[in-house]
Amino acid sequence: MNPVNYLYLASLLFAIGATGVLIRRNAIVVFMCIELMLNACNLALVAFSRMHGNLDGQIIAFFTMVVAAAEVVVGLAIIVSLFRSRHSASVDDASLMKL
């Protein structure tokens, strides 16, 4: 199996994630899309590391997971508090500040 295809897959996932960020309203979903993008990166990293035959990529992937986890912690905290005070997790409702 040619690892380059994984790159294509990775880009595809990244694009899907990005699109999700742009079109979905629910903050949670948006956040999940971002996670998806991060995972796309992981995939790409792993694929490259396979191609290069060194482990850096894979190590980075682990780091990324940790970071993603941390992001989840922070992100959920914020989003939940927003939800509790607004009773809605829609990112579009949160538009007090504009112009």
């Binding site: 990166c41 290069h52 914020i78």
Partner: protein
């Protein structure tokens, strides 16, 4: 491509694993970061074990001590010549200890220290139930306006977590400009971003706006860092390594690719260029350059003002440091590709920032847009790609960060029933009510506008001169024009403060504790000193102008 081209990891696995030699870490040289991070961890423990009443003082004490110590460490390193002669790569190539790194770390630490003072200010808000309160929510978790919130306020809770959070952020920022490989860069980015997201959400007043700001900042920040990460992946794919030096070599073609398998990655400039673009984008987001600036106004407005000041100052410094290192260490060979792009970014940033600010009505948003415009000016210096360019940017950052913190600190003083009175109309006639505060703020505004005898002018002159030397004359002219536009709205505020009649229901100016006073005082002092006798600091920046690689 053929399967044989693919490495077979298990064959490697078959080999006897020769022992991994322990990584060699120069703790002394990393001490500034270690101190701060350590203090942050201690701070967390304090939250866990120290009784609520005393937490505030302990936290404040710890963080101040940590920051001072770290700054002392930085000075020590610089004194021992790590900034110049002994500059080198530490921690197995992860961290660079060189002039720019130390200079920026010093700046960040001082800015952080001053910012911490404003964090700790507890005299501005009227006392709630006999407890002094700072500008952070009593209990971030409680729903605004809910019973819980009232209870928390009554109990005199305060979110002392802000101190460790700030320390974590500062720690990340210290690493950011010193990061010498893409992984460290990414981690540092996240380490200082995540606490900031939280800090944004912690305002005591206007909590809805604060939370909204946090959400926006968080989502967009995560979005941007995803791009960065993908860029990193691509660069890794291109060079087969994430260390700056290696990538630079590959870019400059010093590495002869032995392995044909890698030809189509190493040879493939598309990977390189796209990767660079995405990483740079991540950094531009942090510095708030157009078109990645749109979070700035909202977040600056929503976040608690001390946090805003801290972000505006320190984040910019760190991010520009990283940007400089990336462009000057990794991509000098690629100059002819990224310079034109940066030209474009710089121009739109300067113009958009200046023009949009004209019609702002909220002082914090106004400052946000002005920070965008300034990002544009600094980019002009970045584009110079000369040692002069580096040192001018370093100087500008130092000058700018203190003006910014000072300005936001003044904003915290002007209050009415609803907390800070940030709407411009409220500032009318401030110069009549309290000339001193108005005068101080005027000094900051003039510095922003780049009027001679203020640090703003020296910095602006430095970057523009560097840009002109670097052959970006046109950029200078545009910069000059946009600073003319920018001058207009700074002056508008001054007019408002001094020449228009005060409103009857105008805000009052709270008398701050020595903490905020120091913050403002330091701001003014630095502004004037760097304006009148900048020679020493210019020298400093000048010596610090060389990156190690």
């Amino acid at each position: 491509m053929s399967a044989s081209a693919v490495h077979s990891l298990w064959t490697m696995a078959a080999d006897p694993i020769d022992k991994i030699d322990a990584p060699k870490i120069e703790y002394g040289q990393l001490s500034p970061m270690l101190i701060v991070i350590g203090a942050a961890v201690i701070g967390v423990l304090i939250e866990a074990f120290v009784p609520r009443k005393t937490r505030y003082h302990v936290q404040l004490f710890v963080s101040v001590v940590a920051l001072v110590a770290a700054f002392a460490a930085v000075v020590g390193l610089a004194a021992r010549g790590f900034g110049t002669t002994k500059a080198h790569i530490a921690a197995m190539g992860a961290i660079a200890v060189d002039g720019p790194a130390l200079f920026l770390q010093g700046t960040i630490l001082l800015a952080g220290l001053v910012a911490i003072f404003t964090f700790a200010e507890r005299r501005l808000d009227p006392e709630a139930h006999g407890n002094r309160v700072d500008s952070f929510a009593a209990q971030a978790g409680s729903v605004p306006g809910s019973e819980g919130e009232r209870a928390a306020t009554k109990a005199g809770f305060t979110t002392t977590e802000v101190f460790p959070l700030a320390l974590f952020a500062i720690g990340g920022m210290l690493v950011f400009p010193a990061a010498n490989d893409l992984l460290t860069l990414f981690i540092a980015l996240e380490v200082f971003s995540l606490p900031l997201y939280l800090l944004c959400a912690l305002a005591r007043r206007k909590r809805l706006m604060s939370q909204e700001a946090a959400v926006k900042y968080f989502l967009l920040g995560a979005f941007a860092s995803a791009f960065t990460l993908f860029g990193i992946a691509l660069l890794y794919g291109y060079a087969g390594s994430v260390s700056y030096a290696t990538i630079a070599n590959v870019v400059e073609g010093n590495v002869k690719t032995i392995d044909p398998a890698l030809a189509d990655t190493m040879g493939n400039d598309a990977l390189l260029l796209i990767g660079v673009a995405m990483v740079v984008m991540g950094l531009l987001f942090k510095v708030g350059a157009v078109p990645f600036h749109m979070w700035t106004p909202d977040v600056y407005q929503g976040a608690p003002t001390p946090v805003t000041g801290f972000m505006a100052a320190a984040t910019k410094v760190a991010a520009f440091g990283a940007l400089l290192r990336l462009l000057y260490v990794v991509l000098p060979g690629l100059r002819w590709d990224w310079r034109p792009v940066m030209w474009g970014v710089a121009i739109v940033t300067m113009l958009v920032g200046a023009i949009v600010a004209i019609t702002q009505t909220d002082i914090k948003r106004l400052l946000a847009y002005s920070s965008i415009a300034h990002a544009g000016f600094i980019l002009a210096g970045v584009i110079a790609t000369t040692p002069d360019g580096v040192s001018s940017v370093l100087f500008y950052l130092a000058a700018y960060s203190f003006v910014t913190i000072g300005a936001f600190a003044v904003v915290t003083l002007v209050r009415d029933a609803g907390g800070e009175a940030t709407h411009l109309s409220k500032w009318a006639g401030l110069g009549r009510r309290s000339p001193l505060v108005a005068a101080v703020f005027a000094v900051f505004l003039l510095a922003f506008a780049g009027i001679p005898l203020t640090s703003g002018f020296t910095g602006k002159f430095a970057v523009f001169k560097a840009a002109a030397d670097g052959g970006a004359g046109a950029l200078v002219v545009i910069g000059v024009l946009s600073s003319a536009i920018a001058a207009f709205f700074y002056i508008r505020v001054i007019v408002l403060m001094f020449f228009s009649e005060p409103k009857a229901d105008g805000p009052t100016v709270a008398v701050p504790s020595p903490l905020t006073m120091t913050a403002i005082g330091v701001g003014v002092a630095v502004t004037l000193v760097l304006g009148v006798a900048p020679q020493y600091f210019l020298d400093l920046a000048g010596q610090a102008g060389v990156f190690v690689r």
